[in-house]
């Protein structure tokens, strides 16, 4: 019997299924409702402080998907692999959400003084004398002034956005041109996109590190960690893979993903996600172990702010949510190959990422460090990120609709249409 007889054929219509519009409508509705909730909570709390802190959480989540999606797109151009063909268009759509992420960031830049001590304090001596900051903070604000000042914050971030924007534009336009050309141009395109993506990954690591140092790490002026950028880099891989699997499996309910989504690639993506779950805890724990072993007053206080005063409960839960649950689930081969269950794990991972960011952000501030307590503002950590993520999802769905969901000018396409037992 001829081998070719089992090969599937690609449907004629490769555009995104109609239910993606439904995602958009639902996301806009959820976003609207939670925006109102967030506004009410800000009134109940009587200040915008917590609103802005939660805003940073939402910014980091959506930034992780947008720029992390761009990074994964570049990684798969360099690494190859059939999973890459599957995810290419969803990842491109994620990378094209960058304008929305930029808009989110602009709000942070405007409200800088609420979030960053180095922006709020212009006269260090006066602030020290009034007891607003302690001596260590005063020293660090003065010493780091060259780097941590509003002007540098803005220009570094804008430069980073410009670089990511360039790569987004370049990879997205070339991908469209690639599909318009004949299949014999494939080797040229593979090389071309590889050559852009290779340096792009290095530049992404540097710019992403700079961005998270300014946006998150500098909330505590006294503390620094050299693994911080890498921690976020792996964290982005963690959340981007979770979201990509979620999107791919949801799209597979209809054509064209119904045809191209195979269990093999789903399993591969599950394994890769598992690797990121491991790497994530590996880096997070190494940072803790090194600082704990050193036990130096300059460093350990960052952890003490996040352990004492009932924050210890949160970090214990974070360990369980962020690592133990996805790790145990993804160990199982059956769960990785089961669509419904893998979706549940991925949804959980996105929640766990948000939970982890909450633990990372909130104890930076004096009212919460070593003092976990309830206030109406604390609920902003649910309302604001849900609203921001919903609007992001709406934007993402819109972008997903703009082009066919399958890259056709790619040698992997023939392979992905083969039955699953046809390759080693």
């Amino acid at each position: 019997m001829a081998h070719e007889s089992h090969t599937k054929t690609l449907p004629a219509d490769l555009s995104a299924p109609a239910f993606v519009d439904g995602w958009r409508m639902r996301a806009i509705m959820v976003g609207g409702i939670f925006s109102v909730v967030a506004a009410l909570l800000a009134f109940a709390d009587g200040s915008l402080n917590h609103f802005m802190r939660a805003w940073v959480l939402g910014l980091l989540l959506t930034f992780g998907w947008s720029v992390g999606g761009l990074a994964l797109l570049m990684v798969q151009y360099c690494s190859g692999g059939k999973w890459g063909l599957l995810l290419r268009r969803p990842l491109e759509a994620m990378s094209r959400t960058l304008p929305l992420v930029f808009a989110y960031w602009v709000v942070v830049a405007i409200q800088m003084k609420r979030l960053y001590l180095w922006a709020a304090v212009t006269d260090v001596t006066a602030a020290l004398n009034s007891g607003f900051i302690n001596e260590a903070q005063a020293h660090c604000i003065e010493f780091k002034r060259a780097m941590l000042n509003p002007f540098a914050f803005v220009w570094v971030s804008v430069l980073c956005f410009a670089i990511w924007g360039y790569y987004t534009w370049r990879l997205n336009t070339l991908a469209v041109r690639r599909d318009q050309e004949s299949p014999d141009t494939t080797p040229f395109w593979i090389k071309k996109l590889e050559n852009i993506s290779g340096p792009g990954i290095v530049i992404y690591s540097l710019t992403m590190t700079a961005a998270v140092i300014y946006w998150v790490m500098s909330m505590d002026v006294t503390w620094f960690s050299s693994v911080y950028g890498l921690l976020f880099l792996v964290g982005q891989g963690y959340s981007v893979l979770a979201l990509s699997i979620l999107v791919a499996i949801s799209l597979s309910k209809a054509e064209p993903f119904k045809t191209i989504m195979r269990q093999t690639e789903q399993h591969d993506l599950g394994k890769m996600t598992f690797a990121f779950v491991m790497l994530n805890i590996y880096l997070g724990f190494s940072q803790f172990l090194i600082i704990w072993s050193g036990n130096l007053p300059g460093e350990i206080s960052w952890y003490l702010d996040r352990i004492r005063g009932h924050w210890g409960i949160v970090i214990t839960l974070d360990f369980i949510f962020h690592w133990l649950v996805p790790f145990s689930m993804l160990l199982s081969r059956d769960i990785k190959r089961n669509k419904k269950r893998l979706v549940r794990v991925c949804q959980w991972m996105i929640f766990a990422k948000a939970f982890d960011l909450w633990w990372l952000i909130e104890p930076n501030f004096r009212d919460s460090a070593r003092n976990l307590h309830f206030s109406w503002g604390m609920l902003e950590y649910i309302a604001v990120p849900v609203a921001m993520v919903s609007f992001w999802v709406a934007y993402f769905s819109m972008q997903l609709k703009t082009r066919p969901l399958v890259q056709t000018n790619d040698p992997h396409l023939a392979e992905i249409l083969e039955p699953e037992h046809a390759q080693a």
């Binding site: 019997m1 081998h3 704990w292 036990n295 037992h421 046809a422």
Partner: protein, 180 residues
């Protein structure tokens, strides 16, 4: 094990994995249970087709991993707290964060060793003889480019003539009777 005599089974030889998987699926559907697939490289779908999915290797690996974890963590606790207490920079004797790394390494080591040796043991290795090697085409093909489906004589449905005719319906390259 006493020496067995007679027919071990029938092997059908296929040119590609797709035909093998289809034949195996059909045979399972038609009620065959004592059968096996032999391929030159892992074909997961063939294993699934004959429902050879469940084995005890994951469980053995998990148990090994937990044993490694428990062993190293208790060893470190015992050394540092009871056997040889040392004041290291004023830290508590029971400094669990420092114990995690070796405990983790042992978890991985024991998981790996358990998986490897558990797999060998469950495979019945080391075994010096297998009747299938009596078939000349199996000797040549199974490690290079041929795919085999074996219906074993132990299956209650097995009858030499009808089984042979049954395998022929899949249009294999050949059907060979294998002796013990």
């Amino acid at each position: 094990m006493p020496a067995r005599e007679g027919t071990y089974g029938l092997i059908a030889e296929f040119d590609n994995p797709s035909d093998l998987v289809r034949a195996a699926k059909q045979a399972r559907h038609d009620g065959w249970r004592r059968m096996d697939c032999y391929t030159p490289y892992p074909v997961e779908e063939a294993a699934e087709a004959i429902n050879f999915h469940r084995n005890k290797v994951p469980l053995i690996t998990l148990i090994g991993a937990l044993m490694g974890l428990a062993a190293m963590f208790s060893l470190e606790t015992w050394i540092n707290v009871l056997a040889y207490p040392l004041n290291i920079g004023g830290r508590p004797l029971y400094s669990w964060p420092a114990f995690i790394v070796p405990a983790y390494e042992w978890t991985i080591l024991w998981a790996g060793l358990s998986a490897c040796f558990g797999m060998l043991a469950l495979n019945g290795l080391p075994s010096l003889y297998h009747p299938l090697f009596n078939a000349p085409n199996f000797r040549d093909g199974a490690t290079t480019d041929k795919f085999f489906l074996c219906l074993e004589a132990l299956d209650p449905k097995f009858d030499l003539e009808s089984a042979k005719a049954y395998l022929q319906t899949f249009q294999p390259l050949s059907v060979v009777e294998v002796e013990y």
